[in-house]
């Protein structure tokens, strides 16, 4: 077999310009984790079902396991490590912490990024809307109730 095929990409990740040589078959999440050391983004299933690998790509939450690293060429990428830089991300982090809306914490980064996208679009979502928005993020520990509470709390604080 030939040498691994690679491509050179240039992106902005968490506000920093990054240039990288990536295997063409490497997923975005693997590049963020293994290439850039951004291990806050997790791999829960690698087939697009669990949402643990959620990252923000050009302003939209995507599954990092279903996007290739090369697709980040020229793009702006945000991960959980940068979430606290925005008022919404910081409010969600505080609310998740206070409400014990995480146990093992493996789903939490993806959950917070997905919830942030919701609150950007809808500052006062109903519990049903929150459940619907997070329905692609698997949490095996909490039973979701506390997560819904935390998102509600963050939303109400951001409105205040």
């Amino acid at each position: 077999m030939d040498e691994e095929a690679t491509l050179r990409i240039a992106s902005t990740v968490n506000g920093r310009a990054v240039r990288s040589l990536v295997p063409v078959r490497q997923s975005l999440v693997d590049w963020l984790r293994d290439g850039l050391g951004l291990t806050g983004t997790h791999v829960g299933c690698a087939h697009g079902a669990c949402g643990a690998c959620h990252v923000v790509l050009d302003g939209r939450v995507v599954r990092g396991c279903l996007v290739l690293a090369v697709q980040a060429d020229g793009a702006v990428v945000g991960t959980i490590e940068h979430a606290g830089a925005s008022p919404i991300g910081a409010a969600l982090q505080d609310a998740f912490f206070e409400r014990a809306a995480l146990q093992c914490g493996f789903c939490t980064p993806g959950m917070i990024l997905q919830a942030a996208e919701l609150l950007e679009a809808d500052p006062a979502p109903s519990r049903e809307a929150i459940r619907e928005a997070l329905s692609g993020n698997l949490c095996r520990c909490t039973g979701y109730h506390a997560i819904i509470d935390a998102v509600e709390t963050a939303a109400s604080r951001l409105r205040a």
Partner: protein, 781 residues
């Protein structure tokens, strides 16, 4: 005493986790040294049962980045095989397991070869180049027929597939013959699995220069694993270090000896280089332990006054291809049978158990081990009896629940029951359900198919050493805590109980804060490293608060005594005249005399200020084993409101209520979330989750699209109320809390669906209650 115990505090360490600063096993930077790390990928058997031989390994070895391609014979002499003899279950059939199957695979997913390469992707590429000739053998996968004559043999040379069997209790035919009412139920339970969101994974570093292994692994019990590794790899125990940093969920899944994990460690030992193995989701679903495959038939006899006379149960359990090491796969069934009838007072009990080997992945312990099965059959019978008598299910339960005045009581099943608050919980539940009956009636009048189901539970938690010690398994039932007073006045706690997200470190911090007289925020708890913390059980059977908490209390009391003796020597008084509050030493008048930080600094840096002969030890260790009570029963009751769509067969859970008593709740905020998480896991078992195999024995639940776990949109809000009846045999008074939510949720959901479908004359008899099963039962398909 309880300034901190009982407070609803968030877990200090989750600040890291919400910031994306967790340290799960695959987050560790590449392991350097020994030539750099190799990534492992396994070739796993595609057949449920097959003999095989390799026709070409060289093509795989020639692939880019490949360091090694290993098969069973490469690991001979590196890692021993193992069986699961269990002294408590004499005659348990347990064929030998090896890290890689030698020549015959007995379940689909069994690892047969291991590739090590520079990246996981390259290792997977090379796995595809391994040439194997497979000769499929007849396979036995279906439980119902596994013990019938003519069933395919799971292993060659077996007289039958019966792995173990037993009878418990006494003859009760006469009691049933004379009973005013006998109700019957049968429930089939599908295999389920834990689906920890972080899959199993490890980084093993064998150092050949000193013959030592350092293993970073996502695991529930580092000390137990240390013993297994020492034994199977032939290494001195102290040369094995097991480190578990953040663990992304356990649920009983990450505590067994797995072939792939042993193979990865053995490969590191063989090659002298670090090996990284992170299971992907497909191999997790296929090769993590499964659990709960049972067909249970039960009968319950009731007298004319509506009192339960006895239970008669028959359990056929699917073991899988091997009895899982070291706890055995039979434990789950024994736990299920032990839990039958446990919330109630009754006089007669008989149980029959048969455990069948199958060409499927081994089953093992999963959250609430067996209890959901015992609870479901019991509560299905209770509901059936109430219906047959034409009385309200809660009224039937109120009459039969074990009253406080009847405790302590040893049931006919041998369960010792004490400290249970069934009637208080029932009353609380009734208050929570106010108005729900009317809501259901109104909904039904409007044509909705609504059902309310209830389930009471007793869970036997925090077992003592009689359980595994006597079986010969190296599973510790004691726990240890080492506590150190730092010069900052903070207290460092090193605990043998493991953190998996349940929040036990926060619980221990609160216990230590009260025992020592410091602010809980000044207590820092570490765990999960055999080199850093003293020996103990880790995380299993809801023992952290009950056993680890007691060890923490004892360590705190002992450390405070040391500190007060030092303070007394410095202040020229006696310890009895001093006390510690909020990190300060106060005298009898309440006068602040000095801080703990100052004492630690004097002891450590300015020892000349101490009188001669005073040698304070600012680190103390306390261990705790419970001397009485084989386990600690907790209790609770749950209710579930569902709506069934008669056209699609879909069941929607509208609301769920829990009243739960786990003794002293160290931190009710965290206890409630344990309960909610357990409930949702139980609802998943009731309605969606199943490890399915097709008629040919092929595993068909290999993705999260096929293995259906509950997601937020399908889940209801869950109301939780706590009742606290502290365990009187300990100082802290905690019983187990982490699994009880999962015990009764399947039973409550099953009863709710059957309540909804009662007017159709339909009784669902299998979990999960799939839409197709509902439509079939309704005669719609």
């Amino acid at each position: 005493m309880t300034a901190w115990i009982g407070r609803r505090l968030p877990r200090a360490e989750t600040r890291r986790l919400v910031a994306g600063r967790g340290r799960y096993v695959d987050d560790q930077a590449a392991a350097r040294g020994g030539g750099g790390e190799s990534h492992a990928a396994f070739l796993r058997s595609p057949y449920p049962h097959a003999e095989f031989h390799f026709t070409d390994l060289e093509a795989a070895r020639a692939m880019p980045g490949v360091d090694a391609v290993l098969t069973a014979e490469d690991l001979v002499g590196v890692c021993r095989g193992w069986t699961c003899p269990d002294l408590v279950y004499p005659g348990l059939v347990s064929p030998e397991q090896h890290p890689l199957a030698p020549g015959r695979a007995a379940y689909q997913g069994e690892p047969v070869a291991l590739v090590l390469a520079s990246t996981r992707a390259e290792a997977e590429d090379a796995v595809e180049r391994i040439a194997v000739e497979w000769e499929g053998l007849p396979a036995c996968t279906e439980l119902a027929s596994a013990l019938e004559p003519g069933a395919a043999s799971v292993h060659p040379g077996l007289a039958s597939n019966l792995g173990w069997s037993t009878q418990l209790g006494t003859d009760l035919d006469a009691v049933f013959a004379a009973a005013a009412l006998v109700v019957e139920a049968e429930i089939g339970f599908a295999r389920v699995t834990g689906v920890t969101l972080e899959p199993r994974g490890l980084v093993a570093r064998w150092d050949p220069s000193v013959g030592a292994l350092e293993l970073r692994i996502s695991h529930q019990m580092p000390h137990q694993l240390q013993l297994h590794l020492a034994e199977l790899l032939g290494v001195d125990q102290a040369r094995v270090r097991v480190i578990c940093e953040d663990v992304g969920g356990g649920f009983g899944l990450k505590m067994h000896v797995y072939q792939d994990e042993m193979a990865a460690c053995a490969a590191s030992k063989l090659l002298g280089r670090p090996v990284r193995f992170i299971a992907d989701r497909m191999e997790s679903l296929m090769a993590d332990i499964h659990a709960r495959e049972h067909i249970v038939r039960g009968r319950m006899a009731v007298d004319a006054a509506g009192r339960i006379l006895g239970f008669d149960v028959d359990d056929l359990q699917g073991l899988g291809a091997y009895s899982i090491y070291p706890r055995s796969s039979t434990r789950e069934a024994l736990s299920a049978l032990h839990a039958v009838g446990a919330p109630y007072k009754f006089g007669h009990y008989r149980a029959r158990l048969r455990c069948a080997l199958q060409n499927k992945v081994p089953t093992g312990q999963l959250r609430a081990v067996g209890h959901p099965i015992g609870c479901a059959i019991t509560e299905a019978l209770v509901e059936a009896a109430a219906r047959a008598r034409g009385e309200a299910p809660l009224a039937f339960r109120r009459r039969n629940l074990l009253a406080g005045a009847d405790q302590p009581w040893t049931s006919p099943s041998g369960a010792r029951l004490f400290g249970l608050s069934h009637h208080a919980c029932l009353e609380r539940l009734e208050a929570m359900l106010a108005g729900v009956d009317a809501e259901v009636a109104a909904g039904r009048a409007a044509g909705r198919c609504l059902g309310l189901g209830v389930a009471a539970l007793v869970e036997f938690t925090a077992p003592g050493a009689r359980s595994y010690g006597a079986s010969g398994a190296p599973v510790a039932a004691m726990d240890s805590v080492a506590a150190t007073l730092e010069m900052s006045g903070e207290v460092t706690v090193r605990a043998s109980v493991s953190e998996l997200g349940q929040g036990i470190r926060q619980g221990l911090a609160q216990v230590m804060a009260d025992a020592m007289g410091v602010d809980a925020g000044r207590v820092h708890v570490t765990s999960g490293d055999t080199q850093a913390v003293p020996h103990g059980g880790g995380a299993w059977a809801s023992r952290g608060a009950a056993i680890g908490g007691e060890a923490a209390w004892r360590a705190g009391v002992a450390l405070k005594a040391v500190v007060l003796r030092a303070a007394a020597a410095l202040l020229q008084t006696v310890p009895e005249r001093l006390r510690v509050e909020a990190g300060r030493v106060l005298d009898e008048a309440g006068q602040d005399r000095m801080g703990l930080d100052e004492i630690a600094r004097i002891v450590t840096l300015r020892g000349y200020e101490l009188p001669d002969g005073v040698q304070p030890q600012l680190s103390v260790t306390a261990a705790y084993r419970r001397e009485q009570d084989a386990n600690l029963p907790n209790n609770g009751i749950q209710a579930c409101l569902v709506e069934v769509d008669r056209d699609t067969g879909m069941v929607r859970v509208l609301r769920h209520w829990v009243v739960f008593d786990c003794g002293r709740a160290l931190n009710p905020l965290l206890v409630e979330e344990q309960v909610r998480g357990g409930v949702v896991m139980g609802l998943g078992e009731a309605l969606w989750e199943a490890c399915e195999y097709d008629a040919a024995g092929q595993f068909v639940s290999g993705t999260l699209a096929d293995y259906r776990v509950p997601m937020s949109a399908e889940m209801p809000d869950i109301a939780v109320a706590l009742v606290e009846t502290p365990y009187e045999g300990s100082v802290v008074g905690a019983k187990g809390a982490g699994e009880a939510g999962a015990c009764a949720a399947p039973a409550a959901a099953l009863n709710a669906v059957n309540d909804a479908l009662a007017e159709d004359g339909v009784v669902m008899t299998a979990l999960p209650i799939t839409p197709l099963a509902v439509l079939r039962a309704l005669g719609r398909v």
